[in-house]
């Protein structure tokens, strides 16, 4: 049997390399190369249309000393942490609800996906109006019902503005967790549930001991992706607050864009974007670390 396994493993290796190649080719040419180019530009004083001078880490040093950048860094972490946490919890709750059998379930699942499907630029515009001082639905209802006398300053109060953009991000992104969990729940064997029930486990214990462990791989991957997306989110803040008021909602992506494209400082803007990369790597690494610890 040994020779057979050996051959199997060798064949596996060939197949493995072969099947991973298309992905690597694509990413090498269309991601790695432009990325290295961008990294190089971030080490220069490049401004739009004008080649820059190589200045090493000057841009990075400048950014670390800039209060706007430091605030943006803080904003990005707050935004990501609160949004991902909310999406995970709500997504799980929604998956538990939508996993049950009821008439109209397929329709409900489809409806639930709508926020994810609508082009972000369009739904962000809708939320812009929803948050509006004069026409916004939420303020109107609050005033009509008597909760408030003035419109809720979603877009002009620093803290509310952050809440506002986080809410939109959560509204959009819950479906991702839900769909992932639903797909994963299908894979958890029915017999495990039956065994747990006969053992006398109630719904909560079934969830904790059967569902959650079964969902762990999907949960890990989903959270990982959500962190990446949320950390690099651009459209929502760009359309609703443009980083204001007073830079309290600027994220790394929006600040980078404003700096490079509108400010013309391509080198500096790319340096801001480049910050995202190691930070993300760090966050992901920490997540995986905790995951492995939890597993063992």
């Amino acid at each position: 049997m040994n020779g057979g396994t050996g051959r199997l493993l060798a064949r596996d290796a060939v197949v493995g390399y072969l099947w991973v190649t298309p992905a690597l080719l694509l990413l090498g040419s269309l991601v790695a190369y432009p990325f290295l180019l961008a990294l190089y530009w971030s080490l220069t004083t490049k401004t739009a249309g004008i080649p820059g001078v190589f200045v090493g880490l000057d841009n990075y040093v400048y950014l670390l000393g800039s209060p706007t950048f430091r605030q943006t860094l803080a904003n990005t972490f707050v935004f990501t942490a609160s949004s991902v946490a909310a999406k995970l919890v709500l997504g799980m709750a929604a998956a538990l609800v939508l996993d049950q059998t009821f008439r109209g379930r397929n329709l409900a699942r489809g409806v639930f996906l709508l926020p994810w499907i609508v082009p972000t630029s369009l739904s962000a515009l809708a939320w812009l109006w929803i948050y509006d001082d004069f026409f916004g639905v939420i303020s109107r209802v609050a005033i009509d019902v008597g909760l408030r006398r003035e419109p809720i300053p979603f877009l002009s109060d620093s803290i509310l503005a952050m809440f506002a953009v986080v809410l939109v991000n959560v509204w959009r992104g819950v479906s991702f967790f839900t769909v992932s969990f639903l797909a994963g729940m299908q894979a958890v064997g029915q017999e495990l549930y039956e065994a747990a029930e006969t053992d006398g486990a109630g719904a909560a214990r079934r969830f904790w001991h059967v569902t959650l462990p079964g969902l762990r791989p999907i949960l890990a991957v989903a959270t990982l992706f959500s962190v990446v997306w949320t950390f690099s989110d651009f459209t929502i803040v760009y359309i609703i607050t443009r980083g204001g008021p007073a830079n309290s909602t600027h994220l790394l992506a929006t600040l980078a864009y404003q700096t490079a494209i509108f400010g013309g400082k391509v080198g500096e803007g790319l340096a801001i974007s480049s910050f995202m990369f190691p930070l993300l790597v760090l966050v992901i690494f920490l997540q995986l670390h905790f995951l492995r610890r939890a597993q063992s």
Partner: protein
């Protein structure tokens, strides 16, 4: 494999094949791309496409006219200048030509013919496009901003149209009591928010830099006075949320009857005809208020530029010539129904008579200044403008930062941008 998935896979293979097949030889004719900012008047967009088509037919050329939103024009411009991936001709806002003059084709030779027929081009438009003696773009038009107000409401409170900013504040307080406030945008938006801050600063005599364009001159009593005015206006007259307003907030609020006075392009009046006909008749325009030092407004001339990366430079230049020529400009401006102002002195005799309410729109050009005033337009002033540095200063003051501190923070930021310690 489920049947449906197989079918989908097959369909897509077919689609792929169709896409991959070489299209019918459209490469027979030379092909040009032109990108402009979409007008809110659909008829104006259609007219523009038509004018382009007339030229294209004559020359046997295909032209793709791309309409983008105002906010997306700058990214397109920057990306195209940077990577060479972009249209042949692009509409450039304000100081654009100063950002990368070498990436734009020299169009100086188009100017003499135009000026000899239709008179001189407005000085401010010249300043925006002439870099080191060469014309890097052809001035196209401008949408000057004016004080838009409700005649009926002003009559009700017994006030004349304000002429100075302090008048405006006095009137604004009364308007606020009536629930139809005076409001000016102070958020991170490219047009209205910049106008609010720069106009008030200049009106009080403040300036970013000296005439040399490099010495930072923001820290002055004039700046403090201007900021004090903004602080008072925000506290006593403007609605609470102005710090979060974008370009369209004051439009919406005005049309919805919540705002009675605001500085804006003539877009509000125009939109009111369809969207708020009840108040349309009582909307009128006046010059932007003045301050102790001046009446001034940041100006937005747009121009048409040809990229150096264009493979059809001669044709592109000719299209630009055609579009900025007298007859076309007149037709174009007519289609904007007066919201757009021409930049050629002699254009008046070609245009249709404007609604008298729009007369002040044309006059507004004389009060226009480019960011960086009194210095020349530079890359640094464009960056200060794009990063909302001065707007942030005003925002901080409104939110409670003491004025001297706000000014100091801003000067530090500006020094960074200007590369000084």
């Amino acid at each position: 494999m489920p049947k449906s998935v197989r079918r989908v896979a097959l369909l897509s293979l077919i689609l792929l094949a169709l896409v991959a097949l070489p299209g019918p030889m459209e490469a027979q004719q030379p092909r040009l791309g032109i990108t402009i900012s979409a007008w809110f008047i659909p008829a104006a967009n259609d007219l523009f496409k038509q004018m382009v088509a007339e030229w294209a037919k004559q020359k046997n050329v295909t032209v793709d006219v791309e309409l983008v939103s105002e906010g997306d024009l700058t990214p397109k411009f920057t990306t195209a200048a940077e990577t060479g991936a972009g249209p042949d001709i692009i509409q450039v806002a304000s100081l654009g030509p100063h950002l990368f003059p070498d990436k734009l084709v020299d169009v100086s030779d188009l100017v003499p013919a135009l000026e000899s027929k239709y008179g001189p081009i407005a000085q401010i438009a010249k300043d925006a496009v002439v870099v080191r003696g060469k014309w890097r773009a052809m001035p196209f038009y401008a949408t000057p901003q004016v004080l838009t107000y409700r005649e009926d409401i002003l009559k009700e409170i017994g006030e004349p149209v304000p002429d100075t900013w302090e008048d405006a504040l006095r009137v604004g307080k009364k308007l606020k009591a009536k629930g139809v406030a005076w409001g000016e945008a102070l958020g991170h938006c490219p047009v209205d928010c910049i106008t609010t801050v720069y106009s008030i600063l200049w009106a009080h005599g403040a300036k970013e830099v000296e005439k040399d364009g490099r010495t930072i001159a923001l820290n002055s009593p004039e700046t403090a006075k201007a900021l004090d005015f903004i602080k008072r206006a925000a506290a006593e007259a403007w609605p609470a949320g102005v710090v979060g307003w974008d370009n369209s907030s004051n439009n919406r609020a005005f049309l919805g009857g919540q705002l009675g006075m605001t500085v804006n392009a003539a877009t509000i009046w125009f939109a009111s005809k369809k969207q708020a006909p009840a108040i349309s008749a009582s909307i009128n325009h006046a010059p932007i208020p003045r301050g102790p030092a001046a009446r001034a407004i940041p100006f937005w001339p747009t121009s048409l530029a040809v990229f150096a990366h264009s493979k059809q430079q001669a044709l592109a230049k000719d299209l630009v010539r055609h579009l900025t020529d007298g007859p076309q400009m007149a037709r174009w401006l007519d289609s904007t129904e007066g919201a757009g102002a021409g930049l050629l002195a002699g254009l008046g005799k070609l245009e249709k008579a404007r609604d008298p309410k729009l007369a002040v729109v044309l006059k507004a050009i004389e009060w226009g200044r480019l960011p960086g005033w009194p210095g020349p337009p530079t890359r640094e002033s464009a960056e200060v403008h794009a990063k909302y540095v001065l707007v942030d200063m005003a925002q901080n003051v409104v939110k409670g930062t003491p004025i001297p501190q706000a000014i100091e923070q801003t000067v530090t930021e500006m020094k960074r941008i200007y590369g000084q310690r």
